[in-house]
């Protein structure tokens, strides 16, 4: 096989079959723009958004040690009717964002999306208010498991502006990896300024 062929094969193994494989780029510490939203990264992350199945618009995925060990989703203005998680093949449809969800339903949308990504036993807790830019939003913690039984912890920040969803979601194994970046993610969430 020639070089581009094996590259494509490796990417296919990673998350989903992709026709071509662009590179994974570095998101250095400092301002990181996601469409209209901007956040401030306290350290450098790897931007693996090109590995997201379906390449959803307005969704970015960052990691440091790979998506099995930490994943930071930054969603900039998800529009009414769009999904965060993409269904795999013939799976049933994934949850859709709606512009008029109640706060409880916004939390439910995120939890259902995490379940649709393949996590098991997804629970939310410690629901609390958060100011996101000039908007009243929510933060909450997540507990889940991988199908292999590894405990996963998560934290999410949700804000709705102009009917669109601005979300920052961090998921990582409870053992070491969640705690290792908790402060960094807290900082990123506090720096979020949803765009127009």
């Amino acid at each position: 096989m020639s070089a581009p062929r094996w590259r494509a094969l490796a990417c296919a193994v990673l998350l989903a079959a992709l026709p071509a494989c662009a590179t994974v780029t570095l998101a250095p510490a400092g301002p990181y723009a996601v469409g209209g939203q901007s956040v401030t990264l306290g350290r450098s992350w790897s931007d693996i958004s090109i590995l997201l199945p379906g390449r959803p618009k307005n969704v970015r995925l960052l990691t440091i040690d790979g998506p099995l060990l930490n994943r930071l989703y930054i969603v900039d203005g998800l529009a009414d009717g769009r999904a965060l998680a993409s269904p795999a093949g013939k799976d049933p449809p994934t949850p859709r964002w709606r512009s008029d969800l109640s706060p409880g339903e916004q939390v439910e949308f995120v939890a259902d999306s995490v379940a649709a990504m393949g996590y098991q036993r997804v629970e939310t807790k410690d629901l609390r208010p958060a100011r996101v830019g000039g908007v009243d939003g929510l933060r909450f913690n997540i507990a889940a498991k991988t199908t292999g039984g590894l405990d996963i912890s998560g934290v999410a920040q949700v804000a709705e502006s102009g009917g669109r969803l601005f979300l920052i979601l961090f998921l990582a194994p409870t053992e070491h990896y969640f705690g290792a970046q908790e402060a960094e993610v807290e900082g990123i969430m506090s720096s979020a300024r949803p765009g127009g």
Binding site: S2, W6, A10, G104, R121, L127, R128, K145, T147, G149
Partner: protein, 414 residues
């Protein structure tokens, strides 16, 4: 082994001898097969899959539920009781599967759709029959015969990353490493494991027949099997997804139990040939065993977002008037999430009905409050939210509801 044609011919002759009659496993023989045989190989693959099942997040740890299901399995397995190990997995699909080493999975989606102990007994008898009659081994050997006959080279080979092929040029070291990665990333092995659980139509029909016999011998209602399969077909007919409705064979997502009209008819014939003997269905006993799990399992089913199916399922669960508060709440949840035309009104009616029952979960009142507020009925919204806070003082969204109440007061509406 060095000349191809005679090897294939010998294999063909051997396979012709081992046809798929119901050769049964003896319960008294030492069960573990010789590791050097194909049966031994399947057994050890099953051992690995079973060890993984024990560590999976979906494993249901409730000892009361598991003990109940194992008790029924033991009754129908009779002389094979000691060889069967049942694991309940919390997966919202109608499925049960049997591995050739005696390890059985029963999924929560099945337990939710079975209405009494007799139907469960039929399913467990069906699965036990797959084990007793070596269906996995037969299926494996049949697949091998087919493969040898057609010399299908490509598909299965990819599974283990054995694609070491002698390419020309290219980055050999990197290619090798990526092939190694492919081989070692177990996700590619799941295809091989899943193939162990796929049986032919003939084998499913045989398991129906033998499972029926086992359940009846254990004293269960003979009409249970046909009843269950008919109910599955009816549910599929209510699916939101057109392909599920029009398919002649109703398949679960993992396609291990396609239920055809022929299978239902066969079971009905068997049942009609029986004298109307025992009608022990154990309906109340069964419902009591699954009751603690109804809320979680229905929420998992809701996440499939096939609202037609879920509503049909709720109707079946409500047939005897049990758990009205929980089931009306779940109906409300379906309408709330579906957001179709008129669903707000339907949700309101469902939550209202729930609120009259003693087993209504506190969330009913929060949802009523949200719906009343949406409809501009502020007095009713206030009352409902206050009722929620009184019933769920430790709710994690307490402050949200309190904020909603404050906002309502501020807006100055009466």
């Amino acid at each position: 082994m060095t000349r191809l044609a005679p090897a294939l011919l010998a294999a063909a002759l051997l396979s012709a001898a081992a046809t798929s009659e119901a050769w049964a496993r003896s319960p008294t023989a030492a069960s573990r097969p010789d590791p050097a045989t194909d049966e031994g190989g399947l057994w050890s693959s099953s051992d690995r899959a079973e060890a993984e099942a024990r560590t999976k997040a979906e494993l249901d740890a409730d000892p009361v539920l598991t003990g109940y299901v194992r008790g029924v399995a033991c009754k129908v397995a009779a002389e094979y009781c000691g060889e069967i190990r049942v694991y309940v997995m919390d997966r919202p699909f109608f499925n049960a599967q049997m591995a050739p080493n005696g390890y059985m999975e029963v999924w929560s989606g099945l337990l939710l759709r079975v209405t009494d102990e007799a139907e469960l007994a039929f399913v467990l008898g069906h699965e036990t029959s797959h084990y007793v009659h070596h269906h996995s081994l037969d299926a494996w050997r049949a697949a091998r015969r087919r493969a040898n006959a057609t010399m299908a080279l490509s598909a299965v080979v990819a599974v283990a990353g054995a694609a070491a092929g002698a390419g020309v040029g290219g980055d050999a070291a990197a290619r090798t490493i990526n092939d190694s990665v492919n081989a070692l990333v177990d996700v590619l092995y799941l295809a091989a494991v899943a193939s162990m659980f796929a049986f032919s139509r003939d084998q499913e029909a045989e398991a129906d027949r033998l499972g029926f016999a086992r359940a009846v011998a254990a004293g269960y209602d003979p009409s249970a099997g046909a009843r269950l399969w008919r109910a599955l077909q009816a549910e599929a007919g209510h699916s939101d997804f057109p392909t599920a409705r029009t398919e002649e064979a109703v398949a679960s997502v993992f396609a291990t139990h396609p239920v055809t009209a022929a299978r239902v008819a066969a079971l009905e014939t068997l049942s009609n040939d029986r004298p109307a003997g025992s009608t022990d269905s154990g309906r109340a006993r069964y419902r009591a065993a699954i009751r603690p799990h109804l809320a979680d399992w229905l929420r998992d089913d809701l996440r499939r977002r096939d609202y037609g199916r879920t509503l049909h399922l709720i109707d079946r669960l409500a047939a005897d008037g049990e758990d009205p508060g929980l089931l009306d709440y779940c109906r409300g949840e379906v309408f709330r999430r579906r957001r179709g035309d008129g669903d707000d009104a339907r949700a309101l009616a469902a939550y209202r009905a729930a609120s009259a029952a003693p087993d209504a979960p506190p969330a009913v009142w929060r949802e009523l409050g949200d719906l009343h507020r949406k409809a501009g009925q502020t007095a009713e919204a206030r009352a409902a939210w206050a009722a929620y806070l009184a019933r769920a003082p430790d709710a994690q969204d307490r402050w949200l509801v309190e904020a909603s109440l404050k906002a309502l007061a501020r807006s100055g509406q009466p």
